[in-house]
Structure formats: structure tokens, C-alpha cells
Subunit: 210 residues, 2 copies
């Protein structure tokens, strides 16, 4: 165990990731590299280098939004827990998650929709800009798509990385098309993989770029 | 979007996972299958079927411990956040994580060790049984190894699934050897992969087996 200080371990990890990316012939554009590498650091899974999709300049755009203290709304308390609140609060930012609020569950049950959909509706009703960080629920992405296309709503940014086997691939393809059409910046992981840990890693990468 | 109810989506996901495991020629022993499948469900990564290592009867043993309300100590608040507290508290269980306590950071800094090591020392000083759920820090596993070998300490169970590129593979190999030697039941993911999401998925699988 030659490394024990967290900052040394992280530096050595990123050195290994860069070296193995080179060996594998993986090349990532400059502003995307810190995000892709941190996702690989979080998952030990180089597949993400092929599946993470960025709108033009997305990583820098996300960093700028966080620097301005733009509010984050996420669909899982696990992603909220994984986001570096020390860094975030230094820029005046905060992370909201409505999923576990009691009246969200009851409203979802009454209306026969998911808690994630109710949560996204509440987020979309807030004034001011919101960065959406979706690590779990395809229905959250579909609700955002509807809000964008039918209500003229404009998220400031969409991180779309649900994981899973049902509705997930399609929801990410559809929100990407919608985001492209309406010029909404995004980072989306195409395919089945993703998760709360990946969602948090993307935000933390953008924070560490500052 | 033909599935919207969470329980239907989960059932359909497990059906797809079982089908694809069969197609890939993956066969998992009976009591391990619910754990392995839930980890795949959480990560969309079938690699785990080859790398998850179980001591004999580990999944059932873990379930029994949780049914008895055995305390869980974890090395990340993200894993704590991901564990199904509704199910857990029904059996009288609780999840503790000492990582973010202020005096843990200061003690770690003073002694030149990691916060995870200080957290594990505190956990090992508690009376009664503890299930350790390590999703992040190789040093947590190394501290447990030392406590077992040098102080005669006996964890009730070890879930060892840190993720990463430095110290991670070795720490999992070493704690597995120690656990085998001293008859401590374990679920360990060999290799680089793992994480807080995987740690929580293993506990939730054991809870859902009840």
C-alpha cells in the first residue's frame, strides 16, 4: 500500500486511466476528458468512453452553470448524497431531490404516474434555471421531454444517465433528440448503463474543472 | 413506454436479465442468484456474474443477519443513502456511517491515516455484531484485516466492493484470504469494479430475499 493520501490515490488513478485509455486507443476531446475520466474512475468501466454523449461544449457549459450557483434537481437521494456539497456550496449552489417527500408519493399514487414525474413537475414549476441530474428514472426524462415540447419549458442543462433494462435506452435517445432540437445542453450516457454514481461523478467532474 | 409501475418495471428487468444470462451461458448457484441479478440490475453490467465471490451460503447468511436486525456500518454515505431503510427498519436494523463526522476527519489528519480507517476503528469498538459494507475505501478493508488478524476481532459479515485503480484489487484479494482463514462470511467483488451502488444493491437483495 504505497498510496494512502486520498489526493495521491486520485492522481495515481487518473494517471492509470489516461495510460490505459492510450493503450486502448481511446481519444476524448479536451473539455470532455475530465468528465469521461471521472466516470471511468467511479465505475472502473472504460465502456463509458464510447457511450457518453456531449452536446457541443457541454462540459464547460455545465461548469459555468455550477459556478453561477445554478440549482441542481436530481431524481435520487443517492446522487444527491454523492455530489460534492463542499465544492458546490462554495459557488452558492444547492441540490434538491423531491423523491422522498411524502406528498410526492401520494400524488403519484393518486394520479397513477411515477414519483419521478411528480418530482420533475415540481422542479419545472420553480422560477430560475435548473440543471437536471437524472440517474435513475426514464420517466423523469420523458416528463422533461413533454415539458420542453408542449409547455415551452427550458432546462438549463440535462445530465441523463438512468441505468437499466426497461425504457432506459429509448428515454435517453428521445431526450437527446429533443435536447438537440431545442438547443438544450446535455451529457447523456447512451445505452443501458449509468446510475446515481455516474450522475454524481459528472457533476463532481464539472465542479473540479473550476 | 408500456411499463410505468415500478414493480412491473422491476419484474420485467429481472426477466430480461435472466433471459440474457441464459443466452450468455451464465449460471449462478440458487442463493447467489438474487444478489448477482440485483447487482446487474443496478449496473447493467453482466461482468459482475464472473467477479462476485461468495463464501459458502453467504447470501442466506447475510439475509439472516439482516432479519435479526444486525447493525450495518458502511464507508460511504452514498451506500447508506441507497440501502432500503424501509425494509431494514422493519427488522430493527440501522445503517451507520462515521465518514462525515467532523472529529473523524480531524483524527485522520492528525494520525496520517484515512477517514475510512478511523471509521472502521470506531465501528470495531462497538459492542455486538456488525455487518460491514465497504463500497469505496480499500483502506477500510485493510484496517478490518488488521483488526481480525491482530486483535481477534470478528465482523459478522463483510461486503467488500470498493471500486478503483489503486490498492483496490489487492485489498479485496487480501480481505478474502483473511475472511476464508477466520471463517468470516463475505460477498466480495474481485477486480476493479464495485462502488456504493453495488454495495447498496447487495444489501437490498438480501433484504428482499426475506
Amino acid at each position: 500500500m504505497s498510496f494512502t493520501r486520498p489526493e495521491d490515490i486520485e492522481a495515481e488513478s487518473f494517471r492509470i486511466i489516461a495510460e490505459e485509455m492510450k493503450e486502448k486507443g481511446i481519444s476524448i476531446p479536451g473539455d470532455e476528458a475530465p468528465v469521461t475520466m471521472r466516470v471511468i474512475h467511479t465505475t472502473a468501466d472504460f465502456d463509458y468512453s464510447a457511450t457518453l454523449a456531449f452536446s457541443k461544449g457541454a462540459a464547460e457549459k455545465l461548469s459555468r452553470l455550477l459556478k453561477q450557483g445554478t440549482r441542481i434537481v436530481t431524481d435520487t437521494n443517492m446522487a444527491k448524497s454523492g455530489i460534492n456539497k463542499g465544492l458546490l456550496s462554495g459557488y452558492g449552489g444547492e441540490v434538491l431531490c423531491f423523491m422522498a417527500e411524502k406528498n410526492v408519493a401520494s400524488e403519484a399514487a393518486e394520479r397513477g404516474i411515477t414519483r419521478a414525474m411528480v418530482s420533475m413537475e415540481r422542479a419545472a414549476s420553480l422560477t430560475g434555471d435548473t440543471v437536471y441530474v437524472i440517474g435513475n428514472a426514464p420517466t423523469a426524462l420523458m416528463l422533461l421531454k413533454e415539458k420542453i415540447e408542449e409547455d415551452g419549458y427550458r432546462p438549463a442543462f440535462i445530465v441523463g444517465v438512468p441505468v437499466g433494462f426497461v425504457n432506459v435506452v429509448k428515454s435517453k435517445e428521445e431526450i437527446r433528440k429533443t435536447a438537440e432540437t431545442y438547443g438544450i445542453p446535455y451529457i447523456i450516457n447512451m445505452g443501458r448503463k449509468g446510475g446515481s454514481n455516474v450522475a454524481a461523478a459528472i457533476i463532481n467532474a464539472a465542479l473540479k474543472m473550476l
